[in-house]
């Protein structure tokens, strides 16, 4: 057969890889900053752009989409070309993908600290950026699929199945979760409210972990691990069954983020059982990785690349066992909202994602630069210090999570809470937070070693931008092998494989989401629940802007320890006007769903100005930019208030014409009332235009609608 000559595009691999590592370093430094802010709240320097709630989102977005995202595109483009024996189909799409993705990251770096956020975790970016993400993602998919169609290899290797599943699923998740109605260029409201929004969000959030941080990385493992170990994949059959089982089951597990919340019980139970069923499909990937190293363990001793892979795959195995255990309701009752969850997440991200990417980088760079790694020893040092970093990160947080949970739930025999002041459960954790920050710092130091090593390696080599290769063209006709596995059929039909993946991943989402949207009995109506006033709505948008939901939940679960501490447990019907929902996922501070009416206005005023004034030892940052202060004038922007009410009405909130007409004047009247009450306190001078007034209005409204009902009933 005649050999065809062509070349592999290495430039794009290098570009994505470097972008990933550089943004990774930045993202991790931001992570270190937020970790330190929990110990020294003053590290926000009273600057709004460094507010904890804002830059925590920057950290998560940067490490997920900029670090792992870029590195994964590098690995996909490197392996895809070689597994298909063809060059990437379109240079235009390739470059569009690269520059588009970097622009999106830059947009995120600018907008998140400025407070432009939709508040939904890992989907915080506002609507114009969401559209850009969809376009760039589709460009990636088209480019990949086009390349597949031009392949010189009949069958698709397991890595590519994972890439295809990644592409289709992330596209579906991103689009459905980000359906939002714009108010203006950088502000929108989610199209779903309360329980519905929570379900869609965690269907997305959980599967962003599954299909952005897991399936593509498994694909990379299936290419780079056997290449580096020079060993055959342990079991082809295992690849097949664990691939299909994984993508089918994963999509159902989202509700395990909402156990004991106002989500209907049946959906919670589905989340539990599918999480349990996920253990073995996940472990299939770990087994195929570890058992591929059978007979190559002597190499692991020498090779830093393989060491990184072994720990990555092991961390994957641990995290995918821990996850299902956390999904059992009685374990979840202890772990949810505590530091246990970040510990669990960081085993996955630092261990599985980070280490796999580092191993891949150490393998790729010398090859693309036609040289040897500058120092194997330095790479090994990176490995050990990185591992130590993970241990120091995770262990203190497990201790912290347990401590937190036990303290929250501890009762005196007389029925009162042993730690009735939430702050006691916070100050207790400070040493653990300090250790965690040290762990993070160690991990970043390891990254510094890698930078040195790579720079020296690159200096000693020459980059091969186009790597020449040759392969015979694909024969027009294919004759089946005798006795070939039935799965070979779909491996030579990329379109069917893609359609098959779409069908498989849609089932779980449809079964859970459609009934929750359509069947009214899932969200029993509560008559006394009324829409927010214009001022409260503006206050809510400030709450979203500052990312308060990063540390405060708004979901009192039906536990005695929570109803005694906070008040009546949260009901599904209370959130019907919450576009988007703000249940949160972490209680660094106390739950706020029943905070309305608990304190006087002046308490909130003082607390937001200087949290330690009311709460000695609080680690909440100050929010001086919500006030007129030091000659700086703060004024609530009411330019879009009316528009906001109109958009809300479009979403089904029953605002009347008069309410919309008088939005701003109603807002001013309510603000005046609150300001008058505050000014009665000799320590306070406040103007009704300040943002703090709107914030207080919102906080005082929270969770009070059903209290009204009981008061009325008593009369």
């Amino acid at each position: 057969m005649e050999m065809q000559k062509f070349s592999y595009n290495n430039t794009i691999v290098r570009n994505f890889l470097f972008a990933g590592l550089i943004f990774g370093l930045v993202g991790m430094l931001v992570g270190l900053l937020v970790a330190l802010q929990l110990i020294f709240p003053g590290l926000s320097f009273d600057l709004s752009i460094l507010g904890y709630g804002r830059i925590r989102a920057l950290h998560t977005n940067a490490v997920i989409f900029a670090f792992v995202g870029n590195a994964m595109f590098a690995g996909i483009y490197y392996s895809l070309q070689r597994l298909l024996k063809t060059r990437l189909a379109s240079d235009f799409l390739t470059n569009f993908h690269f520059w588009g993705w970097q622009l999106i990251i830059v947009a995120a770096v600018i907008t998140l600290p400025l407070g432009y956020t939709s508040s939904k975790e890992y989907a915080e970016l506002e609507w114009p950026i969401d559209i850009a993400i969809a376009l760039v993602w589709v460009a990636f998919g088209v480019n990949m699929f086009w390349t597949i169609l031009r392949r010189r290899e009949r069958h698709l290797y397991v890595a590519i199945w994972f890439y295809i599943a990644t592409f289709v699923t992330v596209a579906v998740l991103h689009i459905v979760n980000n359906i939002e109605i714009p108010v203006h260029f950088m502000k929108s409201y989610s199209a779903y409210s309360g329980v519905k929004d929570a379900l869609v969000q965690w269907w997305y959030g959980h599967n962003a972990v599954a299909f952005f941080l897991t399936t593509p990385i498994l694909g990379l493992m299936y290419y780079f691990l056997p290449k580096a170990a020079n060993r055959p994949i342990y079991s082809y059959k295992l690849s097949i069954i664990h691939f299909w089982a994984l993508i089918f089951i994963y999509i159902w597990a989202g509700p395990h983020h909402l156990l004991y919340t106002a989500l209907p019980d049946w959906a919670q139970s589905l989340g539990v059982v599918f999480s349990i069923m996920l253990i073995f499909p996940s472990w299939g990937g770990m087994l195929n990785g570890l058992l591929t190293l059978r007979g190559a363990w002597d190499k692991v001793k020498e090779s830093a690349v393989l060491k990184f892979f072994v720990v990555a795959v092991t961390a994957y195995g641990m995290a995918t066992f821990e996850g299902p255990m956390l999904s059992l309701k009685n374990v979840n009752a202890i772990a949810h909202y505590t530091d246990w969850i970040p510990a669990h997440v960081h085993i996955g991200t630092l261990g599985w994602n980070g280490f796999l990417i580092f191993g891949m980088t150490y393998w790729l760079i010398p090859r693309m630069y036609r040289t040897k790694l500058y120092s194997e020893k330095l790479a090994n040092t990176h490995f050990w210090i990185g591992t130590l970093g993970i241990v120091f990160w995770a262990l203190p947080m497990y201790v912290s999570g347990f401590t937190q949970s036990l303290m929250w739930k501890q009762f005196n025999p007389d029925g009162t809470l042993m730690y009735s002041n939430f702050l006691e459960t916070v100050t207790q954790l400070m040493p653990m937070y300090a250790l965690r920050a040290i762990g993070g710092a160690l991990y970043i130091i390891g990254l510094g070693f890698m930078a040195v090593n790579l720079i020296r390696t690159i200096a000693g080599g020459s980059f091969e931008a186009e790597e020449s290769a040759e392969a015979p063209a694909l024969a027009p006709k294919y004759t089946k092998h005798k006795g070939e596995h039935w799965h070979r059929w779909i491996e030579r039909r990329p379109t069917q494989l893609m359609i098959g993946s779409i069908i498989v991943i849609l089932i779980g989402g449809i079964v859970e989401i459609v009934p929750t949207m359509m069947v009214d009995s899932n969200i029993p109506k509560i008559e006394s629940v009324k829409p927010y006033t214009a001022l409260e709505l503006e206050g809510r948008d400030i709450y979203i802007r500052e990312g308060c939901n990063a540390c405060h939940t708004q979901m009192v679960r039906p536990f005695r320890s929570e109803t005694v501490r906070y008040g009546e447990y949260s009901k599904a019907g209370e959130f019907v006007y919450d576009f988007p929902f703000l249940w949160g996922s972490k209680r660094t501070g106390p739950d706020l769903h029943r905070v309305g009416g608990k304190y006087p206005h002046s308490w909130h005023y003082q607390h937001m100005w200087e949290p330690t004034y009311t709460s000695d030892g609080s680690i909440m940052p100050r929010y001086p930019w919500l006030f007129n202060h030091d000659g700086k004038v703060n004024e609530l922007n009411t330019k879009y208030t009316r528009k906001k009410l109109e958009v809300m009405r479009g979403l089904g909130v029953p605002y009347t014409d008069t309410e919309i007409e008088n939005a701003v004047s109603d807002l001013m009247a309510q603000a005046q009332e609150i300001a008058d009450e505050l000014n009665a306190d000799p320590d306070i001078t406040v103007s009704p235009n300040e943002e703090i007034i709107a914030m207080i209005a919102y906080l005082q409204r929270l969770g009070t609608d059903i209290k009204v009902k009981t008061e009325v009933a008593q009369k």
Binding site: L83, L290, K329, D616, P682
Partner: protein, 286 residues
């Protein structure tokens, strides 16, 4: 082979640790944790630990073999294999892990290749496959138990928890001389109890009334002016029920009656002290 020895004790330890835990005070915590699911969870966890143990043992054996000096390897491996054949556990384990000897690898190498990557046709590890089946069976039972059978919903669980806690609280309160209320409360002057009152005050009250009682968000507690009265009964009542309209919350679910008595007495003991930053008087002079 000596290094194999500890593994024989591993399995009994696996069973013993939870067994011992359940016989100790820790048990109370664990029973609370697992309640009616305890049995199921234990089975599942024990099974999964067994699997994890297998994986670790497998990895360690391979590493150990790899790390042994080459000359000794063949001899020792042969020795180890003989020993392993004799052990029931080892035979059982190999079967469960479904491992094919490395030497027979050529027979199961599939004939396709991608950029130099080959694949073996190893069958699914039996423990993996059966583990998967068990989770599926668990899922079916779970859905059945909670949505058709007698499993409690989250809210039913909550109601039971509250009822049980209330019973336990009443039983406790009946035993204790804790039944102080606004009708029979007396001023406490015992130094120990006043110190207790101070501790509770600093934790709960200082945020609004200042550490020295000088007031802030809430009124000054050191002056002669009182909004709601200055008798021990009055102060006790305010703490117990709050004055919701003025921002004073009710503390009856967070501070027990005896402690409320202590803190009320402590507050009255602040009378006449000089705070750093006293708030202007509110209420009537008494």
């Amino acid at each position: 082979m000596k290094t194999q020895l500890p593994t024989k004790y591993f399995l009994p330890i696996l069973v013993l640790i939870p067994g011992m835990a359940s016989a100790s005070p820790v048990a109370e915590f664990f029973y609370g944790l697992f309640n009616d699911m305890y049995f199921w969870l234990f089975l599942l966890v024990a099974f999964l630990l067994l699997l994890a143990y297998n994986a670790v043992r497998m990895a360690f054996n391979t590493i150990e073999r790899a790390m042994r000096p080459q000359a000794a390897t063949d001899e020792e491996t042969a020795e180890a294999e003989v020993e392993e054949e004799e052990s029931f556990f080892s035979r059982w384990y190999d079967k469960l892990a479904g491992l094919k000897p490395m030497e027979k690898e050529q027979d199961i190498l599939l004939d396709h290749e991608y950029d130099g990557i080959r694949e073996l046709d190893n069958s699914l590890p039996p423990w993996w496959l059966y583990g998967f089946y068990i989770t599926i069976i668990f899922a079916v039972f779970y859905m059945f138990y909670y949505h058709i059978g007698s499993g409690k919903s989250s809210v039913e669980e909550y109601k039971t928890e509250m009822a049980e806690a209330e019973k336990a609280r009443e039983a406790y309160m009946a035993k204790m001389d804790n039944l102080v209320d606004e009708t029979n409360v007396t001023l406490v002057e015992d130094a120990g109890r006043l110190a207790n009152g101070e501790k509770i005050y600093l934790q709960n009250c200082a945020q609004c009334h200042a550490k020295d009682g000088g007031g802030g968000i809430g009124p000054n507690l050191t002056d002669d002016y009182w909004i709601h009265g200055n008798s021990i009964e009055d102060v006790f009542k305010i703490i117990k029920y709050g004055v919701i309209s003025k921002g004073m919350q009710s503390w009856k679910d967070q501070i027990n009656p005896k402690n409320m008595q202590d803190v009320a007495s402590y507050v009255l003991s602040l009378q006449g002290t000089t705070p750093v930053k006293p708030k202007d008087p509110e209420g009537e002079k008494m």
